[in-house]
């Protein structure tokens, strides 16, 4: 009966760990996916323009001056092709994509809207920001006279696939572009403002022929993005912002979630360990006479020790198998029945086999560790005292 109770306790503990870990991992992966599939992990940007005072204080002569920060015009990153080619050789960098970002006015008949134009090389840029995944009409293909627009902008301008819109930049440069695709980024503001054109088109609109305003990068380890960004900045002299820096609050939330998950796992693991230990302590007390008999019959202290360690390990192992299955099953059940208002899933469920493997392994190790004290006590029992009771 005791064994059944402790198996239930271990199974519950491991079930909670698997459920919580699976849920939080899926939630976190979904958040990160949403953030990182709509923005680069590292972005290289040209340095800010600063005003330098013409007069400086010399000796006792004090010059009073007000230095105003100048407005930032669209500028290119110097030597961007060299920088791009160099960064492509870094093993920790996956994709390098030059882009031109500028603002413009989209006009269709009497309707006009302020938009943000991003000039891209689709082949590489779509590996960073997965626009094709968000296309709801048309195709994610852009030639020099094409444009991809958001659903809100399409609605505001009253346009559809194949329609033409006039795009006029602040430089007065203007292009007539054909809508080849309409996307839904899941954000109304972004759908109303974001547009994507070919890099050359944006260069022409921004009057930045041959230049780029940003270089977007993805890396192998998203959590190392800030360290890599610092290395990139040190190597190129160009300011590099990581997603961790630009989304510091989000990243803090992710970290806090990871910490709370670890804490939950630790304390649940601890309670499981104490549960196993208490059962084994009782078991040693109840079986002390049997242990004494075994010792009298030639069973060594080491054999007694191993029996109880094995028992602890088996309790942890068996309980965790049940718990992992129950936790995983509960999570799948919850995921099946918890839906958004439109019936779609709240977020994709990620249940890595390694989660089950590590949970079972950890529970077995915890079981052995928890059994150490009672096992030692059992091995050290004086057989004469134990038999006499």
């Amino acid at each position: 009966m005791q064994t059944i109770f402790i198996l239930i306790a271990v199974a519950t503990g491991v079930g909670v760990i698997v459920f919580m870990s699976g849920l939080l991992t899926s939630l976190q992966a979904n958040f990160i996916k949403r953030v990182l599939t709509s923005q680069p992990q590292i972005q290289l940007i040209p340095p800010d323009e600063v005003a330098r005072p013409q007069l400086v204080s010399v000796g006792d002569l004090f010059v009073a001056a007000v230095v105003q920060r100048p407005g930032q015009r669209v500028r290119s990153i110097d030597q961007w092709q060299t920088i791009r080619d160099m960064l492509k050789t870094w093993p920790e960098i996956i994709t390098v994509s030059p882009t031109v970002a500028t603002s413009a006015l989209a006009i269709r008949g009497a309707a006009s809207r302020s938009i943000s134009v991003t000039g891209i090389e689709p082949d590489v840029y779509f590996k960073i920001v997965r626009i094709p995944d968000y296309i709801v009409q048309g195709v994610p293909s852009i030639s020099t006279d094409d444009v991809l627009i958001g659903t809100e902008l399409a609605k505001d301008l009253g346009v559809g696939l194949g329609d033409k819109i006039s795009v006029t930049a602040a430089t007065k440069a203007s292009r007539l572009l054909t809508i080849t695709g309409i996307f839904d980024l899941g954000n109304k503001g972004a759908n109303a403002r974001s547009t994507y054109v070919a890099l050359r088109t944006a260069q022409a609109l921004a009057n930045l022929v041959g230049g780029v305003t940003t270089i977007d990068i993805t890396v192998t380890d998203i959590y190392a993005a800030e360290t890599i960004a610092q290395s990139v900045q040190a190597a190129t002299g160009v300011e590099a912002d990581s997603w961790i820096k630009t989304n510091s609050q989000f990243f803090t939330a992710v970290k806090a979630q990871q910490s709370s998950n670890t804490l939950i796992r630790f304390f649940v693991g601890l309670s499981v360990a104490f549960g196993i230990a208490s059962v084994l302590v009782v078991s040693v007390t109840q079986r002390s006479r049997d242990i004494g008999i075994l010792r009298a019959m030639g069973t060594s202290q080491g054999q007694i020790l191993r029996v109880f360690l094995l028992q602890g390990g088996l309790l942890g192992f068996a309980g965790s198998i049940i718990g992992a299955a129950a936790g995983g099953g509960s999570l799948m059940l919850w995921h099946t029945f918890s839906r958004q208002a439109d019936g779609s899933e709240i977020f994709p469920l990620i249940l890595e086999p390694s989660l089950f493997l590590y949970s079972v392994l950890l529970a077995a190790i915890t079981g052995v560790a928890a059994a150490a004290v009672p096992a030692y006590g059992a091995a050290k029992l004086d057989p004469v005292v134990a038999i006499r009771g």
Partner: protein
Amino acid sequence: MVDATPVVRLEGVKKAYGVGSPVEVEVLHGIDLELKRGEFVALTGPSGSGKSTLLNIIGLLDRPTSGRLFIEGRETSGLNDTELTKLRGHSIGFIFQSHCLISAFTALENVMMPQLAAVEFPNEAIRSRSAELLIQVDLTRWQDNLSGNMSGGQQQRVAIARALAMNPALILADEPTGNLDTKTADTVIELMRKVNLKEGTTFLIVTHNMGIAHRCDRILEVVDGQIVKASTKV
């Protein structure tokens, strides 16, 4: 050729409890004793005289405070716990008053136990030897019964079979018939005697029952921690 080495030899064995404390009590005062191979010996004496302590020391379950103990010619004072356990497992069998079987095990499993302690993993040889021993004590039909469900006499016969499992040179029996009725007690003593004569196993039987003591080859009487009388059957 018969091995003349005594199965047990004690030289000036003393045992005290609470050594170094104000309540130090010496319960054995320099015991000298020799048990030869194939002897069937009774150990008698009043309660509290030190019989069980002496039995525990001979059974390597306890250590003497001073003096020397030899089991099959091997001096035991320098042995560590593992070595003592191994020697105990191979050379000494125990029969306790309350049989001391593991109630969750079957009769067969109880008999297999000392052999398993020696080899760790069960095998067919262990199983068949244990089954043979249960035939010897006339419990073939009961071998798969849980020992907790057997009668006192049956349990004591299982305990005898278990004590014989490692074919030990010495069997120590602590009041083996104490919990049995006269008829069953008689059967158990007969069985032990049969084994003694057939296998040449030395028996040291602690008993208060003088009827049983007189069926032994030799009677040792312990009083106040000393062997005060040793009589041999004519």
